[in-house]
């Protein structure tokens, strides 16, 4: 029973990681950039959502505004920061991205104060369900629902729509896609837009889950997101989803059994390093 509960909690975390890591994978798959600043978008989404929710009292509006704000800022990050340095060695974009994350973390602290903000009313947080001895709150249910719906929608989008086909074509061969008339720049904007909207949803959900929005909330999740996309075999979407769920479960068991030795983040990265030593190309992914 205890093991089942840990698995459920782990899978819920895994769903949240998946929302975050899918965006990182999308950016990496298309541009080979480790988009650490994804966390900035995540935190921005959380702040936007919280402010709107506390002023209007509507969570629906909060999610909508968070998604719009993130959907604008994400492509903007691409346009202003990544695009001019795409031809540099990969570490250049990575370090620029870390710079943005670190600077914005301090920026959020200056704007909104260091202690974090809470929701005025968080009914999802206080609505608790009990199923066969496992208690979950409504936020956790929504995390799973959001992950299933949004990731399902993304799968449909990439398989069935024209834009999705253009996106896949650009990922596998940019020049070929270009010569077939795909507007690569539009695909990149779309890519950052989708990734950022997903991050905003994850941001508001995590804010609801912890009933707290604080400047540093994105950092650790972003670093773990990177661990996840590496685990999944960089740029591999199904691999990322499997790795997200797996990491959630490993962490949830690890925090119980390894609590005296290391903390949650250490468990995640120990797992990552362990897997990479055996499979340097990630869990799923062809040997290059």
């Amino acid at each position: 029973m205890f093991a089942l509960e840990l698995t459920v909690v782990g899978l819920i975390w895994g769903c949240m990681y998946a929302l975050m890591a899918l965006g990182l994978t999308l950016v990496y798959g298309l541009l080979r950039i480790l988009h650490v600043a994804h966390a900035t978008v995540f935190t921005l989404g959380a702040y936007a959502g919280l402010l709107v929710a506390n002023h209007s009292g509507s969570l629906l509006l909060a999610f909508a505004v968070a998604m719009i704000v993130a959907g604008i800022v994400g492509p903007l990050i691409y346009r202003l920061i990544y695009e001019p340095i795409l031809n540099q060695p990969p570490y250049v974009a990575l370090i620029a991205s870390i710079g943005l994350l670190v600077a914005m973390e301090d920026g959020f602290r200056l704007l909104f104060g260091p202690y974090g903000l809470s929701f005025a009313a968080n009914t999802w947080f206080t609505t608790i369900y009990s199923l066969g001895g496992i208690t979950v709150n409504l936020v956790q249910v929504w995390i799973v629902a959001a992950a299933v719906v949004l990731l399902g929608a993304f799968a449909l989008f990439s398989a069935r729509t024209r834009a999705g086909v253009a996106w896949r074509a650009t990922v596998s061969d940019r020049q070929m896609a270009e010569s077939f008339g795909v507007d690569v720049l539009k695909v990149r904007y779309l890519n950052f837009f989708i990734a950022s909207v997903l991050a905003a949803v994850a941001g508001v959900l995590v804010a609801l889950l912890n009933n707290l929005v604080e400047p540093g909330m994105g950092g650790v999740i972003s670093y773990k997101g990177l661990a996840i996309i590496v685990l999944g075999g960089l740029g591999n979407v199904p691999g990322t989803l499997i790795a997200s769920l797996l990491l959630g479960v490993v962490e949830s068991f690890g925090t119980i059994y390894l609590d005296k030795v290391m903390d949650r983040d250490a468990i995640a990265f120990l797992f990552l390093i362990g897997v990479l030593m055996v499979r340097p190309q990630g869990l799923i992914g062809a040997r290059s």
Partner: protein, 280 residues
């Protein structure tokens, strides 16, 4: 010299040692490491625990250095398995792993860290002089390595690993050597830090510290010894010279990292080079 200047000189020296060590790994040999603070921390914890157990200063410093170098070689062996982006994430993972263990494990003092570290056998000024001397020695070593056969091999590995292997360069060996020297330097700095502050806590060696060291290397000019030395000194002095920066230190560091990468990826050294290039 007053105590304030002495303390700044010591920290500037430690930062020069840390940044040059990272530059050897990332600049010379091209292996991007996002976890350099972990080796600083291993050196500090190693020396601190040895010192608390009654080991004399030179030996405790050596223990810290060797502990960091050992961890560095293990990380280096990991770096043989993974490349570029994978490696950057693995080294970041090493940082989080170190932090997560010292935070929780009781024999490392958990959140309280290690306190009551005995003083070094000389006063603060003596410690500062020793740190500065060590920094100068490392600058000399770094300049020498760059010009030596080893430096050429590092450069070949950094430019194109496969090509280097084709012309008979033992890529694995040179990567390990780069990690060995770079992390040993970090461990040495950590040992000095332990004696300087007489207290080590986990928070001093987190991801932010790794980014700060990286910022020194990158803002100075990755791969350039003098650029990195300048970067380390400037970033140490900046918050001291402009007091108001201290409150926004990370905002400034982050923005500088971003601006340098965006507008001049070769750092200050690159700017200087371009200036002279234009005159000719």
């Amino acid at each position: 010299m007053n105590a304030y200047l002495v303390s700044i000189a010591t920290f500037a020296s430690l930062n020069v040692i840390l940044a040059l060590g990272l530059n050897l790994i990332s600049g010379f040999c091209g292996q991007i490491s996002l976890g350099h603070a972990a080796f600083y921390g291993i050196g500090a914890y190693g020396a601190a625990m040895a010192a608390v157990a009654g080991v004399p200063f030179p030996l405790a410093l050596l223990i810290g250095t060797l502990a960091a170098a050992l961890a560095g070689v293990i990380t280096g062996i990991a770096s043989l398995r993974v490349r570029e982006d994978f490696l950057a994430i693995v080294t970041m993972g090493v940082g989080f792993l170190f932090l997560g263990i010292v935070r929780k494990a009781p024999w490392f003092g958990a959140e309280m860290g290690i306190s009551k570290i005995p003083a070094a056998p000389f006063d603060k000024t003596g410690l500062a002089a020793f740190a500065m001397f060590s920094a100068v020695a490392l600058i000399a070593l770094s300049l020498h390595v760059r010009r030596s056969w080893m430096g050429e091999s590092f450069r070949a590995v950094a430019d194109d690993e496969d090509a280097a292997r084709t012309i008979g360069i033992d890529v694995a060996y040179y990567k390990l050597v780069a990690f060995l020297i770079g992390t040993a330097a970090a461990g040495f700095a950590g040992g000095l830090y332990a004696y300087l502050t007489q207290l080590v806590v986990p928070d001093a060696f987190g991801f932010v510290q790794s980014v700060t060291i990286l910022a020194m290397v990158v803002i100075g000019g990755i791969g350039s010894t003098w650029g990195v030395v300048a970067g380390a000194i400037v970033l140490t002095l900046m918050p001291e010279l402009f007091r108001f920066i201290n409150d926004y230190k990370l905002l400034v560091y982050g923005a500088l990292l971003l601006a340098v990468m965006r507008f001049s990826p070769a750092g200050m050294a690159g700017l200087v080079q371009r200036m002279f290039a234009r005159r000719v």
